[in-house]
Symmetry: D2
Subunit: 308 residues, 4 copies
């Protein structure tokens, strides 16, 4: 019997598309969840073995529910894999319908915002009705009593719901991407590949000038670059913050291990959220002698001094 | 004739509530805009004198459209004022309706996510229909052909649309806040108050380990604390980033001026986005001698050396 | 048969006084050497088991021959003990002679410089003849054909050479101290005491701005204070430098071990020159969590993450 | 009537040689002083207009009396010029004397230490009598009742005292140099040349870990490299220190001005000790945008923001 994977649903989301790209789907049960917290909770309780959720979107930014949901909670979770997908929008409808016949367009508010120019030009007669997601917009068109004649949705969702694409690539921003991550209960990380990311949540005890500098120095002194950093309010209140960061490197890298120990000593709390291969394969440029072999030779030297 | 103020609409949003708290409304025209980019564009073209937009929400995080919309664009904008409002949700309906009569609840997807537990317990019979905003949810209830018998909305929107509050404070997270900012064309900042924030967008030329450390050092060496930092993809693509930061202090503070000059030299580009009073009145704790008088006396000393 | 100890001679120097304070002298042979390099060479060849040499003097500064002699050479040496002695000068002569009878005073040029005011006031009639050391000055008075009727020397040297003290404490600077160190072939350090110094020579490969900052960051990030730092020309030429430093802590301290490994990676060469108890018993004030137990608990945490 | 220049005497010292290289000597009175403090005192009282003193020697290290004498004292002094001279030793005697006739050699203890190998090989029959300086050693040979038949001295001193060089370049270390500096009452610095040094004494209020790091960060953040750093005991006692540094750049450089103001704020006291051209002409490699034009353009930008 296969594993069960959750994802941010409904069917047809980028999270589902990412999940299909990530796991051997023939043997697995795929379970949609209505929200990111619900998907994470299902991993924590064991209802599913893992869940695919969106973490970051080049247009909308970080998904706060994902960043926060990983950083807190009584059972530790880790990211084991990331999938990046290009974000494109299409206008989709049931077969045979034409643009001129569209009176109402279903769209998630974010999707509407990103396609407004196209809609105003090409379906000026249509009003927009809100949908809860790109996939929900597609559902709104195929239901028995449809809310709309067409949906702003993703090509994947159009396909999932059997819709025909009336117009492709209708977004105002080219090159948008979404980054989904597969989240599991804490466990051994995948082997280092040389092109890895480690995700962390760093809680400062106080907020003095230089607190963030201290944190960054722990990385920089070991030659580790950060590819994402966000301050996030702790406990849902503005004013007290934690830092959500992606760092280049792997838990099993010597430099990352030393940096993590340093952060553990400097921070009030450090939440390790997984080391996993970068989906873009980018390897770090190391400007200092911080490779594993540099650490090994320094450790041997130190051992020699101590044993002398 | 008064000024014209835009805000992220429709009527009844937190942005409108913030605007009413910020400006002398009797003499002003208030203009709702459907999106943050639209509101910012209206300021840039001069259609309105200023616009109130949400920048940050303790639950949902930064508003990417606001962060990005301020950082780019051919006419420089600045924040001149911030307003923080507590975020609470209520269930609102037309007068006389009871909870048991509610079959459909209109809610913005984010609002639904934050009230799901309450809804499941108190209106288990109801289904949720999506709305484009808290205010739109209220509108959905008062239209001639309403989509829903009740709305998850804010107390302010309920009042604006003449709804009766069936249940108050139904959110799952206590203490949530939203931070709205009033944006104007670049101009002289308000006078320093001693409790000010300066907002900046910092573009790095390259992405070497320590690039962020260099930026932070420019602040730290002048004793300036950061209260918010986010890396944001430049141009809507993951991989190339700028930093959006809030720093404690004012453009006219000596230490901030020197830090800005340092950032200008270190960064590829620095976008100054305004100095304005903190709405919570918190003053910075200066652990170094970086007060204006410290700068003045150091400058006098230097002048003496040079003139000697 | 006891150990053989060298010292910077001749008999009567502060180095000898320090050696007598440091070792069980009844069982040991004490061997004077004419120069610091000669004393260090004798340790390297095994002619003596250890040697006491002056390293630093609060008036004259670092003893370059000691700093350089430790930093280079084919057999590694370490400091195993330090002795601090107050530096005072007296005017000494053979028994029965009075101040008014003194026509010539023997004095090392440094000693003359530090007692010039006293000499001008109390023995205005005398001329000063140079001596090679404080001890040599005393010898000049007791020889068969004395060069001088009195010597500016140390109380210890006066006693060693059987001279009578005509005037005590004649130095112009109060509170001067000399710091002598006992140097041995590299070997296991004495056990940590909690009040230890580690002496290092750090060779940079290049000389970019921030090279020294990088070195100091390796210490600071582990909460280690430096109590002495000097740039010294490498190979006797101005322009290329190494750093001679004293750092608070012990080779076996976790924080020092990690700092040493970091320095080893950052520097072209690191010469470990011993960990030893501070003779003034001053313990470091640790402003970060860098105690051994902090490291141990951070390491256990990391091990847990990696094994998960 | 010309200026009066002091120097560390007697006639024939490297300080005199440096002075002759530095000033138009035909119009000036040259006054030898027996000690560095005496030479500095004569500048402070106005007895001489300036004084040439040794500051650093590649073999012996910093001249503590010079470093300390500049850092303290009630009238501020500055270095206005540096002269570097190669240090070589010769054996010199009166005309006609041969090596085999030398029974006693006069030598300053440091000079003896640096020529011991040569002396042992070439004049094994000779004993060494101490002299107060290289010049004094030469004097010892030419006096009416000479102490020695030959002197270890410098070629310049040999010439000054009319001695004949028996053997040249007899030092054990090749490439040694001495660095002398011309000290004046504080006044306007010479114009920047692009290859300048600024000498400073930096007094820290306390001694926390990172105090030195803070100082160095003030330099590094402005791209300024240090070419010499020494911790020196304050007030002649080990334990409390100040830092004597040479920094690349000039008082009138923008980056140096800003660094000096930063140091002034961070340190308990900053003693500016002069900006002057490097005698080796080495220009700094600037790795950051810290040229004057970078500062000017950043300042214009800031002014624009503030005036907006």
């Amino acid at each position: 019997m296969g594993e069960a994977y959750g994802y941010l649903g409904p069917a047809g989301t980028y999270a589902e598309a990412a999940l299909l790209a990530a796991v051997p789907t023939d043997a697995a049960a795929l379970v949609p969840f209505a929200t990111v917290p619900a998907a994470l909770a299902a991993v924590r309780t064991g209802e599913v073995d893992a869940a695919m959720i969106p973490l970051e979107n080049s247009v909308e930014g970080a998904v706060a529910a994902a960043v926060d949901g990983l950083a807190v909670g009584d059972r530790a979770l880790v990211i084991s894999q990331e999938i990046r997908l290009p974000v494109t929008f299409c206008l989709a409808s049931v077969a045979g319908r034409e643009l001129s016949q569209v009176r109402k367009v279903a769209a998630h508010p974010h999707a509407e915002a990103q396609t407004r120019a196209w809609l105003a030009t090409h379906v000026p007669q249509a009003t927009v009705v809100p949908a809860a997601s790109n996939a929900a917009a597609a559902i709104d068109v195929v239901e028995e009593q449809p809310h709309a004649e067409a949906a702003v949705t993703s090509p994947f969702a159009a396909e999932v719901y059997g819709l025909e694409v009336l117009a492709d690539d209708i977004g105002d921003t080219a090159g948008a991407e979404t980054r989904c991550v597969l989240v599991r209960p804490a466990g051994p990380p995948p082997a280092p590949t040389g092109a890895d990311t480690t995700t962390l949540a760093l809680f400062m005890g106080d907020d003095h000038p230089g607190a963030l500098l201290e944190i960054l120095t722990e990385f920089a002194v070991r030659g580790i670059n950060l590819t994402r950093i966000e301050s996030r309010p702790t406990g849902g209140r503005l004013g007290s913050y934690f830092f959500s960061v992606d760092a280049e490197g792997h838990l099993l890298d010597e430099r990352m291990g030393e940096a993590l120990m340093g952060l553990r000593r400097v921070c009030q709390d450090v939440r390790y959220l997984g080391s996993y291969e970068r989906s873009d394969g980018a390897t770090p440029t190391l400007t200092r002698r911080v490779r594993d072999e540099d650490y090994t030779s320094a450790r041997q030297w130190l051992r020699g001094l101590r044993a002398d």
